[in-house]
Every structure is written in C-alpha cells, then in structure tokens.
Amino acid sequence: MDLRIAHLYPDLMSIYGDRGNVLALTQRARWRDIAVEVRAFTAGQDFDADWPDLWFFGGGQDQGQDIVGADLGGPNGAALKRSLANGAAALAICGGYQLLGHEYLPENAPAIPGLGALDVRTRAGTVRFVGNLVAESPDGLLVGFENHSGRTYLGPKAKPLGTVVVGNGNNGEDKTEGAVQDHIVGTYSHGSCLPKNPWLADRLLAWALERRHGPQNLTPLDDREERAASEQAAEVAKARA
C-alpha cells in the first residue's frame, strides 16, 4: 500500500514546527509498512489535483500568507478544492486553517476570500492568543500550543474538533477548538500537533488511504512515547493556566 502526501507551500507556510506533522504522518504510515511519498506543492507550480491522498497546510507569516492567498485565488485553489471534494483528506493549521475557510476579515479592510472548503469564518482580533492549548474530544485529548490573533467561528457544516480546557481555541468565546468537515481538519494546535496527538494522525491516515485503497483498519502502534508527551504537556498546561 502507498500514501501520497502533498505539503502545501512548505517554503511559505511552515513555521512553528509544522514539519513535525508531515514527519508524524510519514513515520506512522511507514511503521505500518505503508510506503509514503511527500511532495511539495507551492506557489507558481500547477497543482495536480489527482495526485494527493492528503494535503498538509501549515501556518505562515503574514507576508507569506499574502502570496499563498493570491496563488489559491487562481487555478491552484480550484485544484485543491476539487481534490478535497473528491475525497482527499486535509490537515490545516493556524494560517492554513484560516485560508481553507470562507474568508478572513481584517480590521478596517475588505474581507480576504478563502477557499471555502471549511464552513468557518475568521476575523482579526486585537489580542493575540499565545500559549498552551488543551482541548477535549471524544477520541482523545488534543494538546498543543496556539499562537494566533484571528478569531474563527464555525458554520453549521463544520463541527468542532474539541472543547477547550486550557487556552483559547477558535475564538476565546465559545470554547470550541478546530473544525472537522468531511475529511478536512483545521486546528490552531501547533506543538507539533500530530506527534503528540496520534489519534488524530491515525484518523487522517485512514481517511487518506481510503481514497485509493478503500476503508482501512490501521494496525495499532505502541504509542507510549506519544501518550507520555501528551500527558506531560497537558499537565504543564493545566499547572500554568
């Protein structure tokens, strides 16, 4: 079996350890004898919408995000949207999460349109949310670190990924963190996210494999180190909250 991962704009949208998410997906597939190929998809290329089983979209600096926004406004955005509609999975973090939503509304400026693949809207906030982030979900604890000034609000089609226990999450108001819609996950959790939240990594892997290989029951892995990292991070977060 093989898995294809598209790393979106790795040259522009890869801060806060985003690379760790691709490493986690790759290793967890390889440990199950699934061959993995990772390709960079970046501005100026022509995206092959049929290739990826899974898209990873990280966070970026404001200026990088401008270039990415412009690129997604063209044929590459259409290709990404088509791919997602055809069942490819996606994990989008922070800036990537915002860009997959309907729009980003800056203060005192017209709205910047997003891809509209996730039913979420983001507006600029005045205070930046920086700190440990812990959220509870039915599948497990989501632990990480948030660093964003955007306030994201979920529409009816998007379900929250978790309920905030420590930190602010989507908007600091409604206790929601992240969004799930079909096979697309958006979150504000850096950390890196997937190495400490293996349940989420495996869920994405299963969705990604399903596209070309049908529904999968993934072999369980020994996640002692991952669990220990999650527990320690949650403990530190709660103690400092």
């Binding site: 790795p10 040259d11 522009l12 890869s14 801060i15 806060y16 350890g17 985003d18 690379r19 760790g20 490493l23 986690a24 290793q27 100026g44 600096q61 404001d62 200026q63 990088g64 401008d66 270039i67 930046r128 920086v130 700190g131 440990n132 990480g144 670190f145 660093n147 850096h190 950390g191 890196s192 190495p195 400490k196 180190e225 991952e226 220990a228 990292a229 527990e231 320690q232 991070a233 530190v236």
Partner: protein
C-alpha cells in the same frame, strides 16, 4: 555629572546588587530592572561617559560568543570593556552591567560598552541610546511566541536603523538576506562581512523557511551556495537584489573537530596570517568573522584582533567542557532550529557517535512553544546517536521527537531529576568517554547549578 534621578537609580540598583550578593544569589536581572524603573534613561545617562562608546551586538545566534570575543579584542588593545555577561541581554542586563562596573557616582569604570542586545529589544534600545557600532549577526526564528514573525521584527529593526545617527557604523552579515537588507535603511556607514569560501556549504537552503524570500520583492531567492540555514551567496532572480559586496570576508574556512582556521580578505588589501578560532563549528567561524568586522569598525588592527580570538575561551553553555568522574561533558546551549542545526553540524563533523544528555524546558527564556524541536534536524543526528538521556520540563516531547527521528527505543531513557539525569548520562559513558549536553537556556542553568553544587563548575555569574 549625572542628574539626581540617575544617581538615585544607580544607588538603588547597587544596593539591590549588594543585597543579592550577600544572600549568595547572583541576580543578574533585578538590580538593572530596579535602576531602569527609577530612571528609564539610566543606560544612556551612564553610557555617555564611556570614552570609546558602545558596541551593540544583536541578532538571533552568536551574540554571546561574538560579544565575548569582542571584549577580549578590545582588552587586547588596552581598553576596558563593560560587558553584560551570562546571556542576560535584555535592557535590564545592560543596566545591570553598568551597575556592576560602576561606582556610587554612576560613573562607569570601563571605557567601552560591549553589550549583547536581544534582537526583539534592539528597536527599543536603538531608540533610547546612541551606540558607536551596531552588529547584527543573523536573524533566525527564535522563540516565536515572544518575537512573533521574523519579517515583522526585521521591519521594526529597519525602522530603528533608519532613525540612527549617521555617525553610527552598522556591521551586517552580507550572507543573511534580511540582515543585509537592513543596510539599505542606514544613512551612515555600513560594513558587511561574509563567507566566500566556495568549498563551504551546500546549494539548498535548509528546511527552515525563515528568509528564503527576497526581502525587497518577496520572490523566492536563488542560492549559489548555502553556508548555514538561509545564510549564503543569495540573489533575487526577480528584482535583481544581490548579496552586498563584503568589506571583510572569509575566503577559506578550514574546520577541525575542536577549532577552525579562517583566511581573511578585506576591501583594503592587507596580508594577514590565517586566524585561528579555538572553538568548533562553522557558526563559531562566523562569530569570529563578525568580531573581526566590528574590530575593523572600531579601527583596531586586525592582527591584534586575531591574536585575541586565538586565545578565546567560550562562554557559559557554549561548547564549555567539564570533566565529571573521568567523563568529558560538552555543554551546548540550543534554543532554536538554526542554532541546533549548527551545533549538530559541528558534532557530526567530528565523526563520533555521541552519547547525549538532552534537556528541554519551556520557560520564557527557553521558548514556551516547544514545537521548534520539530524544525530542528534531529534526523541528521539520529543515525549516529549511541545513547540519549532525556530530561527537563518537556522531556517527553523530546523523547518523542527522538523516536520520530528514528532513534531506537532502547537507546533513549527519560530521567526526571537534573542530578539523576547527569548520573545516568555519566553512567552510560565509559571512563574517558564524552557526553554531549544539549540543553535549552533554563535547563542548562539547572544542569550547571547541579554541576556547581558538586564542585565541577563555578556558578555562572562568577564566570
């Protein structure tokens, strides 16, 4: 004569310092903070008395080593530097240094200030005081939760440089695109340094997207040669911006496991013997080059400067070596992906299979966001790791990082207490063997405290 407010600030700071010393604590931050609270202009007021002015050493990596090299260099020329040591490089650290090397009349006892300035504080410090030379070594992503974005930071530093007195000399790294671009903002003299050895480095910028875009037009930069991370021979294919001409460059860098030797060429032709840099790693060769560039800006003869560098001894946690029970501990401070990769590069060059003591903390001075470890190139290190003892507040994150990098489970052990972690690491190394200690700032302090308790090292503030 300083004004009364400065004198009161000075007295309060000095009293605080004396009290802390009596209680046996080497408080490096509090006295400075007290003085600045009473007189926000304390630094400018006291520093105006320095005969040879002030040098500010800023940038993400290499500040401490470069500033220490520079202190040795100016001492070699007969000046008396005041230096904010021990990595305390916020404004309060500078104020603290002026208190430590001053008298009750708020007069400094030295004649040149050699101050490390945290890059995030640089815009504010430049607004408050007028140095003679400002050095920016490099700009990497560091503690993003505190500094946020490198572009934004570079813009703020650029804005501050644009307002500088034209008599100030900026010394900038030509190989770092965002640092080099800062030179465009300065109305006064700029001195560029860079590495021009065609055999050093590769062609692909390392996987850290700090600055692979043109600082002027945002197009992707092209590299003829990459020295370290995003430092190298860069140019923009879109707007034509290129690496500025180097006023002082290293035309050959020969690295060994414990030192390097660099051949220097300057814009003004001069014959100079190769400079011996007695600390390992390409990044330390860079630090030496930066120090030589500042020496030139201060009109210090390069042979004098080279001699001081040849006799250099590294600072706290910067490749310090400590012997414990017949094992050599090499202490390496790591705080961001670029610094980590540079340290790892130096380690791999030795060809040895390291035994590690790795410590990850997430306090303010470390970076509260530990996700940087996923950008650091543990994959390069993993295949040669013989054994790793992992400790610190976020030890489990680090152990998990090693797992994903491919270090076998039975080679990694997590140990919770600092002392036990040291014992384990020593126990895992053979007599006469070496343990490489990689630690973030407060973790290094804790480990070093433990070593000090056992009498192996001096307390760092006595250093």
């Amino acid at each position: 004569m300083p004004d009364p407010q400065t004198l009161i600030a000075n007295a309060a700071g000095r009293l605080a310092r004396a009290a802390l010393q009596l209680s046996g604590r080497g408080g490096t931050a509090l006295p400075g903070l007290i003085a600045l609270t009473i007189d926000p202009d304390f630094i400018a007021a006291v520093a105006s008395e320095l005969a040879h002015g002030m040098v500010l050493v800023s940038g993400t990596n290499g500040k401490t080593t470069t500033a220490r090299m520079l202190s040795d260099i100016v001492r070699g020329t007969g000046w008396a530097p005041i230096h904010n040591r021990s990595g305390s490089n916020l404004e309060r650290g500078i104020a603290g240094a002026l208190l430590a090397d001053g008298n009750w009349k708020a007069e400094p006892t030295g004649d040149i200030g050699m101050f490390e300035v945290d890059e995030a504080s640089l815009p504010r410090v430049l607004g408050a005081i007028s140095p003679r030379v400002v050095l920016v070594t490099n700009l990497f992503r560091d503690q993003l939760d505190r500094y946020f974005e490198i572009d934004q930071l570079a813009r703020r530093i650029g804005d501050a440089i644009a307002k500088l007195d034209p008599r100030v000399t900026c010394v900038l790294n030509a190989d770092d695109p965002i640092v080099a671009w800062l030179g465009q903002r300065h109305r006064g003299p700029v001195l560029y340094f860079g590495v021009d050895d065609p055999t050093v480095g590769g062609r692909v910028p390392q996987a850290i997207s700090d600055a692979t875009r043109c600082p002027r037009c945002r197009a992707a930069l092209q590299y003829e040669r990459v020295v370290l991370a995003h430092e190298g021979d860069w140019s923009c294919p879109s707007c034509g911006l290129t690496r500025p001409d180097r006023d002082i460059s290293a035309t050959r860098v020969a690295l060994t496991a414990i030192s390097s030797e660099i051949e220097i060429r300057t814009a003004v032709a001069s014959v100079l013997a190769p400079v011996r840099v007695p600390v390992a790693g390409l990044y330390n060769a860079y630090n030496a080059l930066a120090a030589l560039a500042v020496a030139r800006a201060l009109d210090i003869a390069l042979p004098t400067a080279a001699l001081a560098i040849a006799n250099f001894r590294p600072a706290f946690g910067r490749l310090e070596e400590v012997t414990v029970d017949g094992r050599e501990l090499r202490l390496i401070l790591v705080k961001n992906p670029a610094g980590f990769n540079a340290a790892i590069g130096a380690l791999l060059e030795t060809g040895r299979r390291p035994r590690l003591l790795a410590a990850l903390n997430d306090r303010d001075a470390d970076s509260r966001d530990v996700s940087w470890i996923w950008d650091a190139d543990f994959e390069a290190l993993a295949p040669v790791v013989e054994h790793a003892v992992v400790t610190g507040i976020r030890s489990r994150d680090l152990a998990n990082r090693l797992k994903y990098a491919g270090v076998a489970r039975d080679r990694t052990v997590v140990v919770d207490q600092w002392g036990s972690a040291i014992d384990h690491a020593i126990g895992a190394a053979p007599e006469g063997g070496e343990v490489v200690v990689l630690a973030t700032y407060t973790a290094m302090l804790a480990l070093r405290n433990e070593l000090a308790k056992r009498g192996h090292v001096a307390n760092f503030w006595e250093d």
